[in-house]
Symmetry: C2
Subunit: 359 residues, 2 copies
Amino acid sequence: MQPIQSLGYNVYFEENLESLLPFIEARGYSQILVLVDRNTNDNCLPVLQNAIPDLIHYDIIEVDPGEENKNIDFCIGVWKTMLDFGADRKALMINLGGGVVTDMGGFAASTFKRGIDFIQIPTTLLSQVDASVGGKTGIDLDNVKNIIGTFTQPQAVFISTEFLKTLDERQLVAGFAEIIKHGLIQDKDLYETCKSVDINNVPADLIYKSVQIKNNVITQDPTEKGLRKILNFGHTIGHAIEGYSLYNDANPLLHGEAIAIGMICEAWMSYKFTGLSEESLNDITNTFLSKYPQYVYSAEFYDSFLELMKNDKKNEDNKIGFALLKEIGDCTYNVYIDEQDIKSALDYYIEAAQLYYKL
Amino acid sequence: MQPIQSLGYNVYFEENLESLLPFIEARGYSQILVLVDRNTNDNCLPVLQNAIPDLIHYDIIEVDPGEENKNIDFCIGVWKTMLDFGADRKALMINLGGGVVTDMGGFAASTFKRGIDFIQIPTTLLSQVDASVGGKTGIDLDNVKNIIGTFTQPQAVFISTEFLKTLDERQLVAGFAEIIKHGLIQDKDLYETCKSVDINNVPADLIYKSVQIKNNVITQDPTEKGLRKILNFGHTIGHAIEGYSLYNDANPLLHGEAIAIGMICEAWMSYKFTGLSEESLNDITNTFLSKYPQYVYSAEFYDSFLELMKNDKKNEDNKIGFALLKEIGDCTYNVYIDEQDIKSALDYYIEAAQLYYKL
């Protein structure tokens, strides 16, 4: 597969990261730092080690896995370790992991000594289709996701389905939600294909297609002034539910699981406000309910959900803006919905899920 | 005085910040946050309040004054307060203060929700001539200055000598060191003028000239790939002494006091390695010694100074690079000096100061 050209860098699709070594060698970096979490240290580092063998020296920085650790404390730990390793401005950071590692590593690199180069090697399905293009880096603060960050492009991204073999099914299913989303907002055929894919064996060309869609959007709107907002379909409500779950559930929802719920709620809004047909609403609802576990929240938490939504970066002047579907494959944005309708959308998921699971 | 055009924004020289109100009104910000420290809250905020009267609402964020507070903990506090105020992406941050406020406020703004607009109103002589152009934002970490930061340009800068009336003489003298530096690296006439200026009454046109010199350099090299390094004259050694003093002295050196020492040391290096005449070395040494208090450090700390220098952002491959004078008004950069000679330069200051104060 040809590399996808993004904003000044390539996304390589290579099982064994063949282009990584020549890429690094051509750049003359003073030093290489590899950021991993415990899981990718064990499961993914061997693939990287094969790609950049002994002739290249690198230091490892390890963080704890999990969204709850994508915070400023861990980021400070990463910065201090970079200092301890004596990293200078010509150092390279390779972020090997899921979204926590690529988002936080990207932020740490983009702010260390006012910015050093970094390469993203996303190892989860979610991060491959979501975090690989767009140049967003970030960490969470006070329960608000990605509230601190920068827009900084990596030097390159490498995607290998080899890493997906190390994931459990729950993670694969969660990540798959972003692929379905890319179909829903821009490509009906992709959405239809998604319905019957074996999630334990996602074909590389489906990931390629998904990255291509996102890349087309973000290269048209690098700093999220307009069009790019369609990528937030499902995310306004999804992020709030995710934030809530992260701090209240012993076994919190994964990002993809939360946005699957968000997409059901926002599909209902699309049906109410932007012309999505009832048939499409039902199809979307059933597609997600058939793949994702039921989640239950009580109406008494709606106000705290709304608070979280208001803190979302995409809002302005305290109104809550949504990206909504006109039909499957066509998405609009800057649709401002009032609080009562948001609550009704939250009700819709609860009722639809109850009905589905009762059947 | 005409505004100075920097990288996409203007530096206005206005006693009463006349252009600020129309500037803000034209932009339609959703919200205005003003970052101050305790001193500027008391002494400088009234000038700002006159410039943007009641018709504009703004919220105040206050931090503690002093370089020791330009750290990640205070920055987290600023971010959290921005969240508490419900700041969205169309909010404006006005940083009203010295380098601590403008550097940290610039960093907080440039990373909050991946970047909101900010205006710098530097209120100390140092920050007016040093932090007003160049787009550097930053905070300190683990005793290393400005190690975390971004290159982000403000929307505008406002300079008023009105604020200088609130400063004590020590701060004025310290800030004046950067004006002398701008003379030394690019403008012999400015340097000669500096020798006889009444520091309690620095004329606005001297500040203007100094900002112009810095602006000419940084617009040619916005991200410090080359030429811009001449602005670091005196800073490699100066930063190390400043970092050391900050953590070891009850009453630590101010930035300008530390780089005055650094300039004496690096003038000696210039004499040894880049052709500065002995006469000029003596002239520079006496100029600084006549204005700045004697500082004493022992040779037993040289190794820790060197450690701090190695962590400085400007170094690559663990070599210590310097910007050095070829003559007064002409500076070169990327001169790599070995450790023994750096120690001799540190000795030179101690001996020159002893001799001067004995006279």
